[in-house]
Amino acid sequence: MTMAPQTRTAQDQTAPGQTAGTGTAGTETAGTPAAGAAARAASRVLAEQIRVSVPERSLQLDLRAVSIVWRRELIRFRRDRLRAVTSLIQPLLFLLVLGTGLSSLAKGSLPPGVNFKTFIYPGVLAMSVMFTAIFSAASIVWDREFGFLREMLVAPVSRSAIVVGKCLGGATIATFQGIVMLALAWLADVPYSPVLLITLVGELLLLAFTLTAFGVMMAARITQFQAFMALTQMLVMPLFFLSGALYPLKGLPGWLSVLTRIDPLTYVVGPMRHAVVAHLNIGPLAQRALSPGITWDGWTVPIWLSLVFILAMGLIMMSIAIVTFSKTE
């Protein structure tokens, strides 16, 4: 492929003050009091030769597509402040109302000096990410309804680039939402230790990615917005309640124990609680009591395996979404 330096046209040199094609040039043109000058600038722009070629599909192009789809998610999220605020309300309700309300009840079973809010904080963090991640996937259904999905699907880029961009975009904004919640750690008496914060952000990112991938996988098949929302709402609460976000995963009746081990959210809430508890100023025994770890038939699942498990799930669901989108149209 050839790469020639961009050269200005002869007309450009006659009007050096208004170089074409940059954002500032536009405002200059718009601000020019003489309409004639603006018209001249416009006709010059129209007469300018710009060589445009659409290259063959390549990895580089696909990465550019991933990046633009990702950036669109961020732009849209930034515009939608209301959504950012409202999706904080439910986690805050759980933390402040439920956390405070149940704390006297839970006091007996918690080690001295440990707040019940601290105990449920990892679960609340997960929750704040959950809604945003799945909602961001809902935008695919929305895009389909408003036609924009078509603009993406007819483009000469691989469908996987679009799906990956969407998953990463959703993961990013959901993680951002989690970080806002993380900033409120003092509400739950969780220390602001850099190591802890970094660990939690990493785990939130993993969770956000997997949940978005799940949402995108669903959105690839479900074409109606209402149906998508109903289905995901129906799934979100059970996932949350079965994850051990509100209670320790020890001494549970058999049926509940099995269900909690099936819930993927368990494998993020567990490691997050482990990280939080490890940074509390309490003895190792108390730490073990608060965060006993996830056990499979007596075998404790290591933290790293939990996280690998989550990542693998996310990748599998994303692959399913890619296959589904590749088949459409």
């Binding site: 070629s53 633009i68 036609g147």
Partner: protein, 388 residues
């Protein structure tokens, strides 16, 4: 990446966009200064990709280069045959219109050409690429403006274009100048930073046209470019399209069911019930009718039709609420009509052949009547409101 923003001092005003050829990656790049000023799709010296002119046929040096070639195309949806074996060719640089009532197979054809639907049988090439086997290559070389909007309302006009540029791999250095160019072309440069949701229907359509042009496609597909717009906006959209033809080296393929819009095309194909019934320039088609159209409103249409048949041997029918028939010379016929017709006549109108007559001549019905029996009631409403 082949990024060359270049203007030769001798560049004419009519070739404002220079493309690298469709085979950039294969190393075929137009040497500077030989940018096809004659509006050809394939740069000089480049052998058109397989199947361009005629698959298995001969490519003669002076045969017109083709932007689209369709051969024996059919498309069925289950029992329904939407397209029933059509053949046509569109030369590079032409504006080619598909005219027909809703449900005639226009949209299905455009979908196949844009690789959004697979043909049931037959084949088609766009910009020298096969729509069945080279989907990506076709998509790189075409711009699309759909009937329904496909913009992101929550992004600004410029952001919508940037998104498109990235998806189509427009070289980074060319994005800003090209974006300005297409936005100026449709008169939206000043509004580029406003959210699309604040645009009017006409502005949105113009933005879509600008977006369709952004990656300098060889062929621009416009599926009912003015449907649902008010008459004033429609004519302004057409000003932009006509302007575009003089500025860009591009082939335009459009579908419409508005007769007056078909007049803007270099050539039109009349499609009815999934088949092409006539294909030529608007002038030639009108000349082929060779008759004036007379419409009369009478006290008793049935009696009038019977009398026309018995007294003049003319076959008339009721179209658009008036008795309609064709005669070689309308002005000379009207006095005779009054002299011999006993049914009271309320109004008379005589018109030169229009595309309406052409349509009637070839299909035996007017496009409006054809649509009245169609299925899409909403579309009919929109069409009726949009008309005159």
């Amino acid at each position: 990446m082949a990024v060359v923003a270049h203007t030769g001092p001798d560049a004419g005003p009519d070739d404002t966009v220079v493309r690298a050829g469709p085979d950039v990656s294969n190393g075929t790049v137009i040497p500077d200064g030989t940018a096809s000023p004659d509006g050809t799709v394939f740069p000089e010296g480049t052998v058109a990709p397989e199947g361009t002119v005629s698959p298995g046929g001969t490519v003669t040096p002076d045969s017109p280069r083709l932007a689209i070639r369709v051969s024996g195309l059919t498309k069925s949806y289950g029992e329904i045959e939407a397209v029933r074996g059509i053949d046509f060719e569109v030369k590079a640089g032409e504006t080619f219109g598909f005219l027909g009532p809703n449900g005639a197979g226009k949209s299905t054809t455009i979908k196949i050409l844009c690789t959004l639907a697979k043909p049931t049988s037959g084949d088609a090439w766009v910009a020298g690429r096969n729509v069945r086997t080279e989907r990506d290559a076709v998509r790189r070389n075409i711009g699309l403006v759909f009937q329904d909007t496909t913009l992101d309302n929550y992004l600004s006009g410029a952001q919508n274009l940037r998104f498109h540029a990235a998806l189509y791999g427009v070289p980074a250095a060319a994005v800003a100048p090209r974006m300005r160019q297409v936005l100026e072309m449709v008169g939206l440069w000043e509004r580029r930073d406003s959210l699309v949701m604040t645009y009017s229907g006409g502005m949105k359509r113009r933005l879509e046209i600008a977006r369709g042009l952004l990656h300098a496609p060889h062929v621009l597909f416009l599926d009912e470019p003015t449907v649902g717009l008010d008459p004033q906006t429609r004519s302004s959209i057409w000003e932009y399209i006509n302007d575009l033809k003089t500025r860009e080296d591009i082939t335009i393929f459009l579908t419409t069911h508005y007769m007056d819009e078909a007049e803007h095309c270099d050539r039109i194909a009349i499609i009815d019930h999934g088949k092409i019934v006539a294909i030529d320039t608007p002038e030639a088609l009108k000349a082929s009718v060779g008759k004036d159209r007379v419409q009369i409103q009478t006290e008793n249409d049935e009696a009038a039709i019977a009398e026309l048949a018995s007294a003049f041997g003319i076959e008339a029918g009721v179209h658009e609420g008036a008795v309609t028939f064709s005669v070689p010379s309308g002005e000379q016929f009207v006095p005779q009509l009054f002299a011999r017709l006993t049914v009271p006549v309320r109004t008379v109108s005589v018109s030169r052949p229009s595309l309406d007559d052409v349509f009637m001549n070839y299909t035996g019905t007017t496009i409006r009547d054809a649509e009245a029996t169609g299925s899409d009631a909403m579309r009919q409403m929109a069409a009726r409101l949009g008309r005159r």
